[in-house]
C-alpha cells in the first residue's frame, strides 16, 4: 500500500507531458483519446499508465500549456477536452528540440559503441 513509486521520475513525467502536447497539435482531444493516440502512434510500444495521465493533464493545464472544456465525444458521451494554447505550442517546440538533441546524442554514443 501507500505511495506508488517509479512513474514519477522527472524524465518519464516530462516525456509523458511532451507526448500529450504532441498529441494535441492535431486538435483538441479528451483524456481517453489522448491515451489511445499515444499508444497507437507508438504502435503499442508505449503503454500509457492511465493513473498517471490525469495528474499530468492537470499539471500542464495549471502551467497554462493547455485549456480544457466539456464537450461531447465521438461516442456521444460527455467528456473533458484539452486544447493546446500558444504557450503550450512554444513549450512543445522547446521540448521537441531538446528531445531531438538527446536522441541524437544517445544515437551517437550507441552508434560508436556498435562499430
Amino acid at each position: 500500500m501507500g505511495e506508488r513509486k517509479g512513474t514519477s521520475s522527472e524524465m518519464v513525467q516530462g516525456t509523458l507531458e511532451m507526448l500529450i502536447l504532441r498529441t494535441l497539435i492535431t486538435g483538441p482531444a479528451h483524456g481517453h483519446t489522448i491515451a489511445h493516440v499515444i499508444e497507437h502512434g507508438s504502435e503499442d510500444v508505449l503503454e500509457v499508465e492511465q493513473g498517471s495521465l490525469y495528474p499530468a493533464l492537470h499539471r500542464i493545464e495549471h502551467r497554462g500549456w493547455v485549456t480544457s472544456y466539456w464537450g461531447t465525444s465521438e461516442n456521444n458521451r460527455k467528456a473533458k477536452f484539452y486544447k493546446l494554447t500558444p504557450a503550450g505550442k512554444k513549450q512543445l517546440t522547446a521540448e521537441t528540440n531538446r528531445w531531438r538533441r538527446v536522441v541524437a546524442a544517445i544515437g551517437r554514443v550507441m552508434g560508436e559503441a556498435a562499430e
Partner: protein, 930 residues
C-alpha cells in the same frame, strides 16, 4: 490565486471525478466493441485506470500549495478528533501547561537575574574591577594589605578570596592616564549613606543612598529625567552639597519627577540641593540595591563627621583601607583582555608598595576585570544557586510532563490502530498519517503552551511575592518578556514534535492486515505481550523515579525549614514589635541622646497592652559586632561579641537570667560601668567559676598600634552583674558566640541608630500607630523605620529556606499529580484493553479479589521499579543540595521514608481506581462487549 484554488477545490474535485467517470465509460465502450461482456468490460476498465480515489489524490497533490492546504485540513481534523476525546485533551493540555508554566516562570527569574543587562547605554562595554588573592580562611593568615575595609569580600577556601572594593588611591591611580578606558567611576554604599534621614518640606523619612564619583553618571551614559546628573565638579571637598534622586523618589516626594530638580532637601541634618532626577528605568549598578538618593562621593566626609567611627577625609588617602567599588567603560576596539593586560601590572606595582611586611607581600591582591553588562552580582550570588536548583526541578517536571503526554499519545495511538490502518488501506501515504498525528500533538502542545503562558504570568506573580517577601523589595523583578516568550513557544512546539513523533512513527509501521483483523480482545492479547507494553511502562517508571527524587528534595527542604523554626533562640520571638529610630541623624547630640531614648522607652512601656519595652544597638538576629574585649590580664579574644542594650533588655526579650540582675534605671551614663555575659562567655572565660563581680575591659580600637597593655587604651572597665542563658546572636543558623551585653549609653562606643523592642500582649503591629504618635510628639523630625515583628524578621532571615521549602513542595506535588495521572491513564487503559479477558476469567470462576490483585500487581511492579531506580539516585544527588540544609545530613532517612510512603500511597490510590473497576466487571456484559 492560490487561496482561491484551495477554496475551489471541492468543485475541481467533482469535475475530476466526472472526467474519470467519462474515461471509464469510453474505455468500457472500447472494450465492449472488442467483444467483452459488459461486466468484464467494466472490470477491465477499472483495472487499467487504477483506483480513481488515488488519482484524485495525486491530482490534488500536483495542483496546490500542498503544505498550507494540508495543514488546514489536518488542523480541522485534529480539532475534531481532539474534541471527540475531551478527557484526554484536557489532561494533556493541563499537564503540558503545568510543565511549561512552571518552567517559564522560573526561567523569567533566571533571565532577570542572570541574563538581563543594565539599563544604560552600551552596557556591553562596561567592566567591573575586582581583585583576587589567596584565601585567608584556609591559611589562617592574618596579615593582608587590606588592613581595614568597608564592604564585602568573598573568601572561599578553594577558590581564594575575591572582592570588588579598592582603596581610593588605587582608583585614582588607575584612572590617571588610562589608555584602555574611556570612563572610569567609583561608587560605594557605605554605612554613612545606607540609611539616610531625609527631610523634605518638613516631613522626615528614611531613604537609601549611594555614594558615586563625579564620573559615574557620565560613564554609565545616563540621561537625566529632569535637571542634571552629578558631575566631576560636584565631587570634591568643599563643593556645594548636591544630590540626584531616583525617579520613584521624585515621583513620591516632589509630586512628579520633573519638579524634583532644584528642590532643597535635608539629609542627616545637613542641607543639600536636588540637582536632578534619574530616569525611571535606572536602578544604579546593583540590581539588588536600587538607591533612592545618589550623593557625590566626597560628601561622605560631611556625613561621616556625624557618626561614631565615621568616614574622615584622611580615609581618601588610606592605601590599606579598601572601600570603593569601581566600574569602567572600555574604549572602542579595546577588549577586556587587553585592558586586563594593560592595568594588572600597574595595580600590582602600586599594591606592592602598600605592603608592610613579607607576609603581606606574599599574598598581594591581583587585579581582574569582569564584564559589567549585567551589573553587580549581589543578587546573583544570593539567588543564583537556589534558582539553578529550582530550574533543575522544573526541568524534571517538564520531563515528566512530556513523557506523560507521550505516554497518553502512545496509548491513544494504540487504540487508534484500526482507524489508522483503515486510512492507510484507503491509500493514504504513511507520511500523511504521520503528519496528521504530528499535527494533533503540536496542536495539543500549542494549546498547552497558551494555557502555560497564563500559568506563567500567575507563577511569576507568586514567585515575586515569595522571593521579595522579607528581602525588603530588593529590586528583584521579573516580567514575561519577549525572549522568554520565544523560548516558551519553541519549548511547547519542540515537546509537541518530540512527544508526537514516537507514537506517530510507531503507528505508521503498522501491519495492516493484522491491525484490521484485530478485535478488542485479540488486540489486548497482542498488547499484553511483554515488549509491546514496554514503551508506556518505561515512561511511567521514569516518572515515578523523578517524583520520588523531587519528593525527597521537598522533604529535605521542609525538614530544614522546620529545624530552623524549632531552633531554640533563647528568647521569646512571639508578640515582639521591633522598629528603628536614629536620634543622631535627626539632629540630637550625644549628651542628650541617652535621656531622649530613656524617655521614649518609658512612654512606650506605658502604652496599654505593652508589657515591657527596651532598646538595643540592633536586633539580636542581625547582631554581629566585635570590639576588643578582654578579661584583665589576657589578650582580647577575637570571638567575643558585644551587644549594647538599654535597661530591662533581658526582661523584655525574656532571656532567662541564671545569676545576678538585668540592667535597670540605675545603670546611667555616669554610674559604674557594668556588663552581663552569656553562658558561653562564662564557660570560656571563667570555667567553673562565678563570673558575677569579675571585671572586663573593652579597648579602644586603634589602627596603627595595638598596645593591649596600655591602660590608657581601656574604653570601659566593666563589672559583670549578671549571667544570662545563651540566646541567639547574629541569626538563627549561627552558633551562639560568647556575648557581652553592656549598657548602650556608658561611653565608648557612642550610640547611633537604635532598635526598640516592645513586648506586647496582643498582635504587635496593632501598636504601631501609638508608637508613631509618641515619636511624633517627642520629635517630628524623627522617622520610625523598619517596623516589623520579631517573628517576621526571623522569617525574613530564613526566606531562602522558606522559598525552597514552599516551591519544592509545590513542585513535588505537581510532579506527583502528573505522575499519578499518567499511572492512572496507563492502568485504566490496560484494564479497558483486558475487559474481555477479565470477563472470561471471572466467568471461569476467578474471584474479584484475584482480579483486583492482578491489576494492582502491575501497579506494584511499576512502583517498585521506580523506587529501585530513584532511591540510589536520591542518595547520590542529595549531597548537591547539602549547602541548603540545616540541622541534618543530606541523606536524611526521614525525608526518604516520607517520600517513599507518600509515593506508594498516592500511586496505589491512582492505580487502585482502575483496579477496582476491573474487579467490578460483570462477566456477561464484558463478554457481550466484544
Amino acid at each position: 490565486m492560490n487561496l482561491k484554488r484551495i477554496l475551489r477545490r471541492s468543485r475541481e474535485d467533482a469535475e475530476l471525478s466526472q472526467e474519470l467517470g467519462s474515461h471509464i465509460q469510453h474505455e468500457i465502450d472500447d472494450n465492449v466493441a472488442r467483444g467483452m461482456t459488459p461486466d468484464e468490460a467494466r472490470r477491465q476498465a477499472y483495472i487499467r485506470l487504477g483506483n480513481p480515489l488515488v488519482i484524485r489524490e495525486r491530482v490534488w497533490e500536483t495542483n496546490r500549495i500542498a503544505v498550507l492546504e494540508d495543514l488546514w485540513r489536518d488542523l480541522r481534523y485534529a480539532v475534531r478528533t481532539l474534541t471527540r476525546a475531551p478527557g484526554f485533551t484536557f489532561v494533556v493540555v493541563l499537564v503540558m501547561a503545568l510543565g511549561i508554566g512552571a518552567n517559564t516562570s522560573i526561567f523569567s527569574f533566571l533571565d532577570s537575574l542572570l541574563l538581563r543587562s543594565l539599563p544604560v547605554s552600551d552596557p556591553d562595554s562596561l567592566v567591573v574591577l575586582k581583585w583576587h588573592a589567596k584565601s585567608l580562611h584556609s591559611s589562617g593568615q592574618q596579615d593582608f594589605v587590606m588592613e581595614s575595609m568597608s564592604g564585602g569580600t568573598d573568601d572561599d577556601p578553594k577558590l581564594g578570596m575575591t572582592s570588588g572594593i579598592f582603596p581610593y588611591p588605587a582608583f585614582e591611580l588607575l584612572e590617571k592616564d588610562n589608555a584602555v578606558f574611556s570612563d572610569m567611576f567609583a561608587y560605594c554604599r557605605s554605612r554613612e549613606v545606607r540609611t539616610l534621614n531625609v527631610v523634605i518640606r518638613g516631613q522626615a523619612q528614611i531613604a537609601g543612598g549611594e555614594l558615586v564619583s563625579g564620573g559615574y553618571f557620565r560613564g554609565l551614559g545616563v540621561v537625566p529625567a529632569a535637571g542634571r546628573m552629578i558631575a566631576r565638579d560636584d565631587d570634591r571637598i568643599g563643593a556645594p552639597p548636591v544630590v540626584v534622586v531616583s525617579h520613584a523618589f521624585g515621583e513620591r516626594y516632589f509630586g512628579g519627577s520633573a519638579n524634583g530638580a532644584g528642590q532643597p532637601i535635608v539629609i542627616n541634618g545637613l542641607p543639600f540641593t536636588v540637582v536632578g532626577v534619574a530616569p525611571a528605568e535606572f536602578f544604579g549598578v546593583d540590581p539588588s540595591t536600587a538607591p533612592d538618593i545618589y550623593l557625590p562621593m566626597h560628601t561622605n566626609v560631611l556625613l561621616g563627621a556625624q557618626i561614631p567611627f565615621g568616614f574622615t577625609s584622611a580615609d581618601y588617602l588610606g592605601a590599606n583601607y579598601y572601600w570603593v567599588e569601581v566600574m569602567a567603560r572600555l574604549r572602542p576596539g579595546v577588549t577586556l583582555q587587553q585592558a586586563q593586560t594593560a592595568l594588572a601590572p600597574r595595580f600590582e606595582q602600586w599594591v606592592s608598595t602598600t605592603a608592610h611586611n613579607d607576609a603581606e607581600r606574599a599574598n598581594l591582591p591581583a587585579l581582574s576585570l569582569q564584564e559589567g553588562a549585567s551589573g553587580l552580582d549581589t543578587l546573583r550570588r544570593r539567588y543564583s544557586k537556589p534558582m539553578y536548583l529550582l530550574m533543575t526541578l522544573v526541568g524534571l517536571i517538564l520531563a515528566i510532563a512530556c513523557s506523560n503526554v507521550a505516554n497518553l499519545m502512545l496509548s491513544r495511538s494504540a487504540s487508534r490502530k484500526r482507524e489508522i490502518a483503515l486510512r492507510l488501506s484507503q491509500g493514504a501515504s504513511r507520511f500523511r498519517v504521520i503528519r496528521q498525528l504530528l499535527t494533533e500533538s503540536v496542536l495539543l502542545s500549542v494549546a498547552g503552551g497558551l494555557v502555560g503562558v497564563l500559568l506563567a504570568v500567575w507563577g511569576i506573580r507568586v514567585l515575586t511575592a515569595v522571593l521579595s517577601e522579607a528581602s525588603h523589595g530588593s529590586g528583584l523583578r521579573a516580567d514575561l518578556d519577549g525572549r522568554v516568550l520565544v523560548l516558551l513557544v519553541s519549548l511547547s512546539l519542540l515537546s509537541g514534535v518530540l512527544f508526537g513523533l514516537a507514537p506517530a512513527l510507531q503507528s505508521a509501521k503498522l501491519n495492516l492486515v493484522t491491525a484490521l483483523k484485530e478485535t478488542q480482545s485479540t488486540q489486548a492479547r497482542v498488547r499484553h505481550s511483554f515488549w509491546n507494553a514496554r514503551g508506556t511502562d518505561v515512561l511511567v517508571v521514569g516518572q515515578i523515579a523523578i517524583s520520588v527524587v523531587m519528593l525527597v528534595a521537598a522533604g529535605l527542604f521542609v525538614r530544614t525549614l522546620s529545624n530552623l523554626q524549632l531552633v531554640d533562640l533563647g528568647f521569646n520571638r512571639d508578640n515582639l514589635l521591633l522598629f528603628q529610630l536614629n536620634a543622631r541623624q535627626s539632629g540630637h547630640k550625644d549628651s542628650e541622646i541617652s535621656g531622649f531614648y530613656c524617655e521614649l522607652q518609658e512612654r512606650f512601656a506605658s502604652i496599654p497592652g505593652v508589657q515591657a519595652a527596651s532598646l538595643a544597638d540592633t536586633s539580636l538576629i542581625e547582631a554581629g559586632d566585635g570590639l576588643p574585649i578582654s578579661v584583665p590580664g589576657k589578650q582580647p579574644n577575637n570571638d567575643f561579641r558585644f551587644f549594647p542594650v538599654g535597661p530591662r533588655f533581658l526582661t523584655t526579650m525574656q532571656i532567662p537570667l541564671l545569676a545576678g540582675r538585668d540592667f535597670g534605671d540605675q545603670d546611667r551614663p555616669k554610674s559604674k560601668a557594668v556588663a552581663i555575659v552569656n553562658e558561653e562567655f562564662a564557660r570560656i572565660s571563667f570555667p567553673g567559676e562565678n563570673p558575677i563581680g569579675r571585671h572586663l575591659y573593652m579597648w579602644k580600637e586603634s589602627e596603627l598600634s595595638r598596645p593591649w597593655d596600655d591602660k590608657n587604651n581601656i574604653a570601659r572597665d566593666m563589672e559583670i552583674v549578671g549571667l544570662a542563658k545563651n540566646a541567639n546572636y547574629g541569626g538563627v543558623k549561627q552558633k551562639i558566640p560568647p556575648v557581652v551585653y553592656l549598657p548602650y549609653d556608658q561611653g565608648y562606643p557612642e550610640p547611633a541608630e537604635m532598635v526598640f523592642a516592645l513586648r506586647t500582649s496582643s498582635y504587635p503591629l496593632s501598636f504601631v500607630s501609638s508608637v508613631r504618635e509618641i515619636v511624633h510628639q517627642m520629635d517630628p523630625r524623627l522617622p520610625v523605620s523598619e517596623v516589623r515583628t520579631q517573628r517576621a524578621e526571623i522569617d525574613a532571615s530564613m526566606h531562602q529556606e522558606i522559598m525552597l521549602a514552599q516551591l519544592c513542595s509545590a513542585f513535588a506535588a505537581l510532579a506527583l499529580t502528573i505522575t499519578c495521572v499518567g499511572l492512572y491513564g496507563t492502568i485504566s487503559y490496560k484494564v479497558a484493553q483486558r475487559t474481555g479477558e477479565i470477563g472470561i476469567r471471572m466467568a471461569l470462576g476467578a474471584l474479584r479479589g484475584r482480579v483486583l490483585w492482578m491489576v494492582l500487581r502491575e501497579v506494584f511492579a511499576l512502583v517498585a521499579l521506580g523506587l529501585a531506580i530513584s532511591i540510589p539516585v536520591s542518595l547520590g544527588t542529595s549531597k548537591f543540595v547539602s549547602s541548603f540544609l540545616f540541622g541534618m545530613k543530606a541523606n536524611d532517612p526521614l525525608a526518604l521514608t516520607c517520600a517513599v510512603v507518600i509515593l506508594v500511597a498516592t500511586a496505589l490510590s491512582a492505580g487502585g481506581i482502575p483496579a477496582k473497576r476491573a474487579a467490578s466487571v460483570e462477566p456477561m456484559s464484558a463478554l457481550r462487549h466484544e
